[in-house]
Symmetry: C2
Subunit: 344 residues, 2 copies
C-alpha cells in the first residue's frame, strides 16, 4: 500500500500535497488547471497524484465551489426507443463536455417527477433537462427560477413563451405528411392517435388540422389506437369501415403505424396500394417492417444533443435570453404510401 494516508484508505488532497512537498492550496490549483502554478510544480504534483491514486472528491468541492459537473435528466419513459435515442444524444453531448448524467424516469407522473427533482437538488446538480410528465403544470418553471436551477425542456413544453426548449417541428412534420398524401391524390385522410395528451400531441394535431384546412379537406376522421404492437386489428377494421371511407392514415408514431399496417395486412388489405399509411419519428422499425414505412423523421438524437447544448450555454451565461431550438422534420418515402385509387 502506498505511503502517507492515515486512516480511511482514501487519499486526500492533503496527502498529495505533503508527498509533493507543497501546500493543499497549491495542489488544489493544480487540479483546477490554474495558470498561477509553475510548470515544474505542476508536473511534480501530477506525478504524485498519479502515484498515490488520488481521486477528486466532488462532494467536498461542491460545498465551496458552485459547480458539480452533474446534470439531471428526466424522461417519461425509458423503454420507448424514441426516448432512448434522445437520451443517448444527451448523454453523448454532456459526456463530451466532461459532465455526467443523473437519470430518472417520471413514468408520466408529476408526483414522481417532484420527488425526483428533490433528489436531484439534494445531489447539487448544475441543471436539469426535463421532458415533463403530461400532468406537470407551468408553475414548475417559476419553481426552478426560485430554486436557481437551470432547466431545459425537451420534446414537450409546459409554457409557450418561457424557458429554454429543444424540440422538433411537429406541426411542420404533420404538414409534410398531409402534403405527401395529397400529392398522391388522397382526399380522405384519417389521423390516428392514442396515449397521453401533451404539447407534443397538441402540436401534431394542430399541424394536421391546419394542413388539411389549407387543402379544403375534412379533418374530422380521427381514430384512437392503443399504443403497442397488439390490439391494432380492431383499430384497422374500424378505420376501414369508417363512414368517411378514408384512403390513408397518418399515425402519431411509427409503433402505431406498424401495428395498423399489420392489422390491415391481416385483413387482406395491400398497404401501399389499397391503403396508405404514414408513420412519425422514423425509428429503426420503419425500415424493419414490411411494407417499409413511409415516415416523418424527427432525429431524436439531435434533439437530445440540442437540449444538452442549451443547458451548457445556460450554465456558461446564466443571464442570456431564453432560447428555443426547433429542428425540422424530413419526409422519408418508403413503401407504405402510394397513389390513391382513381375513384377516390
Amino acid at each position: 500500500m502506498p505511503e502517507g494516508h492515515q486512516r480511511s484508505g482514501r487519499v486526500t488532497l492533503l496527502d498529495v500535497a505533503q508527498a509533493a512537498g507543497v501546500s493543499r492550496a497549491t495542489a488544489s490549483l493544480v487540479i483546477r488547471k490554474s495558470p498561477l502554478v509553475a510548470n515544474e510544480t505542476r508536473r511534480k504534483v501530477e506525478e504524485v497524484m498519479d502515484r498515490l491514486g488520488y481521486v477528486y472528491n466532488m462532494g467536498a468541492a461542491s460545498m465551496r465551489a458552485a459547480r458539480s459537473n452533474t446534470v439531471g435528466v428526466i424522461v417519461p419513459n425509458l423503454t420507448n426507443p424514441f426516448f432512448a435515442e434522445m437520451l443517448a444524444g444527451i448523454e453523448q453531448a454532456l459526456d463530451d463536455a466532461g459532465m455526467i448524467v443523473v437519470l430518472a424516469n417520471n413514468r408520466e407522473s408529476a408526483a414522481n417527477q417532484k420527488t425526483i427533482l428533490q433528489r436531484m437538488r439534494e445531489r447539487g446538480v448544475d441543471g436539469v433537462i426535463v421532458c415533463p410528465a403530461r400532468d406537470v403544470r407551468t408553475s414548475l418553471l417559476s419553481k426552478a427560477d426560485e430554486w436557481q436551477l437551470p432547466l431545459v425542456q425537451v420534446l414537450r413544453h409546459i409554457s409557450e413563451n418561457k424557458g429554454d426548449y429543444a424540440g422538433t417541428d411537429y406541426a411542420g412534420g404533420m404538414r409534410q405528411a398531409v402534403e405527401h398524401l395529397v400529392s398522391l391524390g388522397h382526399r380522405s385522410i384519417a389521423f390516428a392517435t392514442g396515449g397521453p395528451v401533451h404539447s407534443a400531441y397538441r402540436e401534431r394535431l394542430a399541424g394536421f388540422l391546419s394542413a388539411m384546412a389549407d387543402h379544403a379537406l375534412d379533418p374530422e376522421i380521427r381514430i384512437e389506437v392503443p399504443l403497442g404492437p397488439f390490439g391494432s386489428p380492431a383499430s384497422a377494421e374500424s378505420l376501414l369501415h369508417h363512414s368517411a371511407r378514408p384512403s390513408a392514415v397518418i399515425c402519431f408514431n411509427d409503433i402505431m403505424a406498424a401495428g395498423l399496417a399489420n392489422g390491415m395486412t391481416d385483413l387482406g388489405v395491400r398497404v401501399g396500394q389499397d391503403f396508405s399509411i404514414v408513420g412519425f419519428d422514423d425509428l429503426a422499425e420503419a425500415e424493419l417492417v414490411r411494407p417499409r414505412l413511409t415516415s416523418i423523421a424527427t432525429f431524436p438524437g439531435e434533439i437530445g444533443a440540442n437540449a444538452a447544448r442549451l443547458l451548457l450555454s445556460r450554465l456558461q451565461t446564466p443571464g442570456r435570453a431564453d432560447q428555443r431550438i426547433v429542428s425540422l422534420t424530413r419526409l422519408v418515402v418508403r413503401q407504405s404510401t402510394g397513389a390513391a385509387a382513381p375513384g377516390d
Copy 2:
C-alpha cells in the same frame, strides 16, 4: 422571502435548527429519522423544514457519512432496445429503494469506461452496475476491490468465478432454440452472428454447439450478419446458397432475425414454411414484424432489476459471498418457424 438565512439564498440545517429553537445536531437527527428524538420536537422541526423549503445537501453529508444513495450504471449502448429495457428495470428497482442513478455509456470501449468510472468515483457513488465493454479485462474486479467500490456485472462477465453477476442463461436459450427446430424436423441448422465478442456471445455459441452435438448434428454452419436492419439481403442470399443447404437459422438477436427474414422474403422465400428463423431476446419487434418472429425471451427488465437487487444487498451486507443470478429464458413460438420439408 422567508426568514433567517444569511447570504447565498440556500436554506441550511442551521437555519432550520435556529427557526425551530433546537441545535443543528437535533435537526440532523430528525432528517435521519433517528428514534432518539422526541415526537414533539420531530414534528416541530419537520414543520419548519417544510416552511423554509429546506433541501438536504447530500454532498456535505457524504463527507462524513459513508452513503450517498447514488449508484452508477454503465452500459455499452443506449440505443439498442435491449439495453434500454434493462436500464429501465435497474432504474425502477433503485428508485423504489430511494436511490438515484448516474448513467454513462462506455460505447464498447474500455478507455471510455475508465474515465467514466473515475467520474463516478469522484461523485462518491455507493456502487456501480456495469455491463463491461468488450475489451475490459479481469483486473477491473480487483481494482474495484482495491477502491472498495461494490461492483455488479450485468449481462456480461469478465470473470468466471469472481464478483456479483446478474444475467440470463444464454446457453440454455440456445438449447431451447435448437431443440425447437430439431423437434420440427430440421437437421441442418445455421447460426448467425455479428457484432462484438464478449461473454454473452461466447455463451450463446457454446450453447448452440453443445445442443447441436447432443443431437449429433453438424454445427459448422455459421454466418456473419451485419447488425441493423440494412445489409441483410446479401446475408440471406449467402445463407440460402450455403453448401450445407440449411433449412433453418438461429440468430444472435431479434434485430438480426428480422433483417434476415426480410431478406428472405424479398428473395421470394416463404419464412416459416420454406425456411425457419429463430430470434433471440423477444423484443417488441418480434411481434411487430411479419411473419411474427419465433424468439427466445430473455426478459431484460428482470435482469436489470436483479442486478439492482444484488447491489442493494451487497450494500447492506458488504461481507456476503459473491452471487450470480441467472434468469431462465423462454421459447416463444410464433410464425417464423415451421416443419422442415420432408426431403430434409
